[in-house]
Amino acid sequence: MSSLPNSFRSGPDERGHFGMFGGRFVAETLMPLILDLERAYADAKSDAAFQRDMARYRKDYIGRPSPLYFAERLTDHLREISAASGGAGGAKIYLKREELNHTGSHKVNNVLGQILVARRMGKKRIIAETGAGQHGVATATLCARFGLDCVVYMGAVDVARQEPNVIRMEMLGAKVVPVQSGTRTLKDAMNEALRDWVTNVHDTFYCIGTVAGPHPYPMMVRDFQSIIGEETRRQMQEAEGRLPDSLIACIGGGSNAMGLFHPFLDESSVEIFGVEAAGHGLDKQHAASLTGGRPGVLHGNRTYLLMNGDGQIEDAHSISAGLDYPGIGPEHSWLHETGRVTYLSATDEEALGAFQLLSRLEGIIPALESAHAIARVIELAPGRTKDHLMVVNLSGRGDKDVPQVGDILKGRKK
């Protein structure tokens, strides 16, 4: 465990490191472009016109701010569970409604920022990788809006299990390329996007979907997603007159979580929980890189990875295509090692249960990704006091998962 820094919000250093994590581990072909991007992003960040554009599109195109919603029936349900076991607790649960964003998830926050940067750099062609398709849909959407060519790499397995999003991307004018190599999931989609980028580096911008990849991506994506936590701060002050007591979000690469967490990292009174995908179980196949992995180097950064003893990357598994990735953003690895954030996990079964519970209690069908966070809320909230304010990031809506979950539930009825 490293010694605790004065601020958890000052990273990364100028070489893109969060402690020992992060960095720039890419082929030489990409280095000049990554250095250009670093300059272009620094330039954009300090440009008032860029910030004005961001604010305008956030409000009128994405539909921000997203509401912070008091989930009364879920709260009551968990208080009953607390009472049934002889307790008198049950935290007050708020949902940060990122699923109400245009395109149905938090992904659009990041894509908007990156597309505006890409435009400043004069790029005409955008590539992206996607797991569940939410990042692909957000990228296809903004490419349509700004008239840019869009190619989305998606593992062939994910193309099959997330068909509604494939159809949406194609309707928006994007070309979806099913990736047949490796495990044919998100990891391989990212490899294939990197291969495309190496080949078309002169005119192509790689819009990475999470807080991972070579510096400056983990920082840049975090900055674009931090609007989630900034709004939450403000909205909780308005609703309750104080900061929340705990935050909780699901983690694949970890961008929705980082967006919620970052503005609160230096608030020592706020407990923070990330929830990884435990798949079939932590002793079986899963996607919990922090819980079940160790530090390695992949996709441009050093971070926790699932791998064998020879440094070969292992197959991740999650019911949720968006969490089915054997790595995690480097800043999460650092927050894990410093102990600032507590990382938990939820299995496929627990996520399915939470998916159904939230749908029935609140009339909100969550993405399977977000359902992982809800699964841990169900466990944590009854043990907290009634005045405990817990915010869970509802990172996406479950429309894309309806056919998949429907099939699973139908299979069980037979």
Partner: protein, 278 residues
Amino acid sequence: MTTRIDTRFAELRKQGRSAFVTFLMAGDPDPATSLAIIKALPRAGADIIEIGMPFTDPMADGPAVQAAGRRALDAGMTLTGTLRMIGEFRKDDDSTPVVLMGYYNPVYIYGVEKFLDDARAAGVDGLIVVDLPPEEDSELCIPAMKAGLNFIRLATPTTDDKRLPAVLANTSGFVYYVSITGITGSAAADSTAVGAAVGRIKRHTSLPVCVGFGIRTPDAARGIAERSDGAVVGSALVDALSASLDAEGKATSGTVQAVASLAAALAEGVRSARQAAE
């Protein structure tokens, strides 16, 4: 300190010709056949042998090299096994330079210091690690230099004059010019552009410049050899290997010969080239 790579280029300069550099994946399609192939390469005319360290996620490689890595991993190849194979090769051949090429994670997990010790002991002369740019030199490049191993850097068409000094700063052995922006096995750059690029790099360094990516035929190899200090061929050899396998992807009695024959033809192409332009 003089390495096998330095010695080999000095000999080639005396002979007035460019180097023929071959690439194959360690353990493809199985460890025994792979060893037999690398033993056959110097006889076929290879001046320098690059050996791929198989990795599950080779982000800069095309389908042929990806598949080769997969076959090797499926056949049980590991980094330890790769070093052991080079040790075996060294029992018969103490002069042909061997360069390991791959991605950082397996080396990082093996442990950098231990890897450098074991690689030197096995008879490795140089390293090419695709995902370690100069910005990450402290990871492996600097320790490798201290251990007496050449760290060979890739330069690409995107490496402009401003960046070249950074790329060349800690490079030794030779410079590997990747003639296209793209993955291994993709289309070849035209040799005139390659000549200009090699000339540009040579204004910044006295190291030999070898050129790779997209060279598939003896004619193409000759064209590149005329304009550089070496032609690197990988995917074409891997394809020849792959084409010789049976329906289950296993080696056949013709596998070693299939690779050696193509290597011999390519070596002939390189040897027929006029001396590289200075």
